[in-house]
Amino acid sequence: MIITIAVVLVFAMIGIYFAIKYPQRAVSAALALVIFGSIAFHFWTPWWWTEIASNWGGMDDTIILTFWVTGSVFCAVCLFMSYCVWKFRYNKDRKAEYEPENSKLEWGLTIFTTIGVCALLAPGLIVWNKYVDVPEEAIEIEVMAQQWYWNFRLPGEDGILGLTDFNNINEDNTFGLNLDDPNGLDDILIEGDDLHILKDQSIKGCLRSIDVLHDFYIPQFRAKMDMVPGMITYYWFTPIRTGEFEILCAEYCGTSHYAMRGWVSVDEEDSYQEWLSEQTTFEEMMTSIGKSDAIQLALNIKGDK
């Protein structure tokens, strides 16, 4: 401890002496130190992204590419500036160079920058194209957000999510499922509890909110999309490793925004099936609370088929 303080003090003294004796060079050195410090921080930082758990490695790659391209421009510009401050110190007997314009240089820099920008944009747009294009094999899962917790709905055996209507929402039918839609009967409802998904199974998250804006965000999956009342938004992903991952709401949604958490568990086939068998369907749920009359219409239609 004492040695550290002593070393810092000695360096500080040298720095101050240097700064007083050569003020202009000291500024140049300080600017360069800011840049070298930033580079050092970047390479030694303990704070970096968490190990990815979805197919969106392309996002990480694009970030790395952007880092190298823009980082080198940042360092080049600032170090050039630091050099100028060192080299062209004020001297009252000297005049600055006089050159109002230099169109060759200006055009050169324009073209150089345009190429750099294209190099960043093109790969980014290719990955974005994948992001908005949901593969056919993806199964739909509904995520329904409300202040301040998460609900989920799985499509059940038929693989189809039943239709919902906002006006159907009441304390028995929290998802607002249509009572005449047979596809909704086997939907599995998970209210305010953990969601389990199967490893390597692509998922299209159909995102829905019934009050304010929310955002379904799991840092390890990288993906994100706001949930907007009145519409259904979506994104897709494929979990690539098992584990438990925390859901964070990433769009400010009121006083308890920070507490709007949940868990997603990525399972292997066995444990997933075990979890699935413990869940209740809409039909079972309505029957268990003695409201099976309400879904009679849907049951009849199903029977007719």
């Binding site: 940042f74 005049k95 600055a96 314009e101 009121g254």
Partner: protein, 598 residues
């Protein structure tokens, strides 16, 4: 100018003076204390009124940011801060800093003080309207302050005020007066700004002195001019969204409100579009970034040129870059909404326009640093701030290339990466320019220098301190820490070491804030006891230093308005005796100067 015309120069044949096209302006000279200092029509006094009001409310926002930082790092020190207060402080900090401080200070403050002086006018073209503009702004600030004291407190909706949460009961101030006062205050602000803004634009177009062509104007004026035009186009989107949201809140209309569940029941609203609000808000909000940035670009160009004793490199390109950035800033707004749920195909368009805007911006940066090349750099305090601006602006600008590229934005949006990015690029960078500008023009405003020792101390603490706040903060965003979290708890994916990083950032933030107290002390004492400045102490070329009196009095230029013969950057011209030729020096007075551009 070709060599064969040297004789013409010496005999004054080239001293072309354009004819007077508009008769000189009559000014109302104030007679009483009230008309002179309170309801004042002198643009310079109005500029200072704007600046004092903006800085005062800005200090409130600074203290709010300390509270937020303490909550994030040392919550035990601020036990009175619950989540509701935290979100209220976040909201008010953001709104005050962006609108009531930065916009008002750059356009209302520097715009008013500098435009007439720099273009060679006696005052703004509508001095009375200019006075009203300030008082309407002042009223907007009062309404904003009132919202702190109403039941339920100010709004805690985040500075973006997104409905539905902005006007529902789950948000602090959402079902009370807080949000309504915020929306009313913003509407009043827009009214006041429109009066001032029309004035700035018309003064620049109409009241320039003879010889001051548009392409001879200092870049400061170009920056403020373009920013004001942006504001005149962008603020209408803000005022309509404020009015419509007020109606949704008070009268139960449904412009932005879909059917939602509130208190466990279906609400009265139906059919409105929350995303429409976001489009309107960012149609204002993105140009707003450039409303703050363009004046900073302009001012920093002038600071660098004057203190490097060299003309700004590529003046014409600098002007066109300002204009192109301004125009492009209206077609990039939805890059704030990549994950908002709008049609994802928009992402392709807005990512492309956003990255295109990087090209003119980068050219400006190149031209600043090339101006330093083979300059004769005086490391005055304004120059130090200009250099620091370049570092922070480039840093914040390149992180904009992350967030503008739609797919990179997906993991980073709504994390601390965004917070770090916009503070670096539109918080710290413009504020450093404001400081540089104050150190630069203080001798003009008061006739005295700011104390240099205190100034250097203030500079190093502010620059290094704020860099230490925001540079590491980007890495919290990489980890995935979301913004607007009152408390993180223990999340397994976040290393506990981020707590110590948060503590470090908080200590740096409080230190930087305290350094501003020293700056205020410096301003107050130096305006009375500071070292006296001689006329044009920095040996600049632009007209504001050529006034009849220093500090300039009402009417600015004495009996005769100056006549302009050259651009504002004739530094170190070969053949000239001095290393600067002011704009109002006729070619015949400096016959040996071999200028290549006028």
């Amino acid at each position: 100018m070709s060599a064969d015309s040297y004789e013409d120069v010496a005999t004054g044949k080239n001293d072309t003076i354009p004819a007077l096209e508009v008769p000189p302006q009559d000014l109302y000279h104030a007679k009483s204390f009230i008309t002179r200092w309170i309801f004042c029509q002198d643009a310079k006094v109005i500029g200072i009124q704007y600046a004092i009001t903006a800085v005062s409310i800005g200090l409130v926002a600074l203290v709010l940011s300390w509270m937020m930082r303490l909550q994030l790092a040392f919550p035990e020190l601020v036990p009175f801060l619950g989540p509701a207060e935290y979100y209220q402080f976040v909201t008010m900090h953001g709104m005050i800093m962006v609108v009531y401080l930065l916009t008002a200070l750059f356009l209302g403050g520097f715009g008013n003080y500098l435009i007439p002086l720099m273009v060679g006018a006696r005052d703004m073209v509508f001095p009375y309207l200019n006075m009203v503009s300030f008082w309407v702004y002042f009223l907007a600030v009062l309404v904003l302050v009132t919202s702190f004291f109403v039941p339920g407190g100010p709004t805690g909706a985040g500075w973006t005020l997104y409905p539905p949460q902005a006007i529902t009961s789950g948000t602090p101030g959402g079902d009370g007066l807080g949000i309504v006062l915020m929306l009313i205050s913003l509407s009043i602000f827009v009214v006041g700004f429109t009066m001032g803004g029309l004035n700035y634009v018309l003064t620049i177009l109409q009241a320039r002195t003879r010889g001051m062509t548009l392409m001879r104007m200092p870049l400061t004026v170009w920056g403020i001019f373009t920013a004001t035009i942006l504001a005149l186009f962008a603020f209408p989107a803000l005022i309509v969204s404020c009015i419509m949201l007020t109606l949704d809140s008070l009268l139960g209309t449904s412009f932005f409100m879909p059917a939602i569940i509130e208190f466990g029941e279906q609400s009265e609203h139906s059919g409105g579009s929350p995303i429409l609000f976001q489009h309107l808000f960012w149609f204002f909000g993105h140009p707003e970034v450039y409303i703050v940035a363009l004046p900073a670009f302009g001012i920093v160009s002038d600071l660098i040129s004057v203190h490097a004793r060299k003309n700004i490199f590529g003046y014409r390109m600098m002007v066109w870059a300002i204009v192109i950035i301004g125009a492009l800033s209206f077609v990039v707004w939805a890059h704030h909404m990549y994950v908002s749920g709008m049609n994802p195909w928009f992402g392709f368009f807005f990512a492309t326009t956003t990255l295109i805007i990087a090209v003119p911006t980068a050219l400006k940066v190149y031209n600043w640093v090339i101006t330093l090349w083979r300059g004769n750099i005086r490391l005055t305090i304004p120059m130090l701030f200009a250099l620091a601006f370049i570092v922070t602006f480039v840093n914040g600008g390149i992180t904009g290339l992350f967030l503008g590229n739609v797919i990179v934005d997906v993991p980073l949006s709504d994390t601390y990466f965004v917070v770090a990015h916009f503070h670096m690029v539109m918080g710290i960078a413009p504020v450093l320019v404001i400081f540089g500008a104050i150190y630069h023009w203080f001798p003009l405003i008061t006739g005295r220098f700011l104390h240099e020792g205190m100034g250097k101390f203030h500079f190093w603490i502010t620059f290094l301190g704020s860099y230490l706040i925001y540079f590491p903060m980007h890495y919290l965003g990489f980890v995935g820490v979301p913004r607007r979290y009152y408390e993180m708890y223990e999340s397994p994916f976040i290393e506990t070491s981020t707590v110590s990083l948060n503590q470090f950032i908080t200590i740096a933030a409080i230190t930087v804030g305290l350094a501003q107290v020293l700056f205020l002390y410096n301003i107050i004492t130096s305006s009375k006891f500071g070292k006296k400045a001689k006329r044009n102490p920095w040996e600049a070329c632009s007209l504001e230093w050529q006034t009849a009196d220093v500090p300039p009095t009402h009417g600015n230029f004495g009996a005769e308005l100056p006549i302009v013969y050259r651009w504002a950057y004739d530094f170190s011209v070969p053949g000239a005796k001095e290393d600067f030729i002011p704009q109002n020096i006729a070619p015949s007075e400096v016959p040996d100067a071999r200028v290549e551009k006028t």
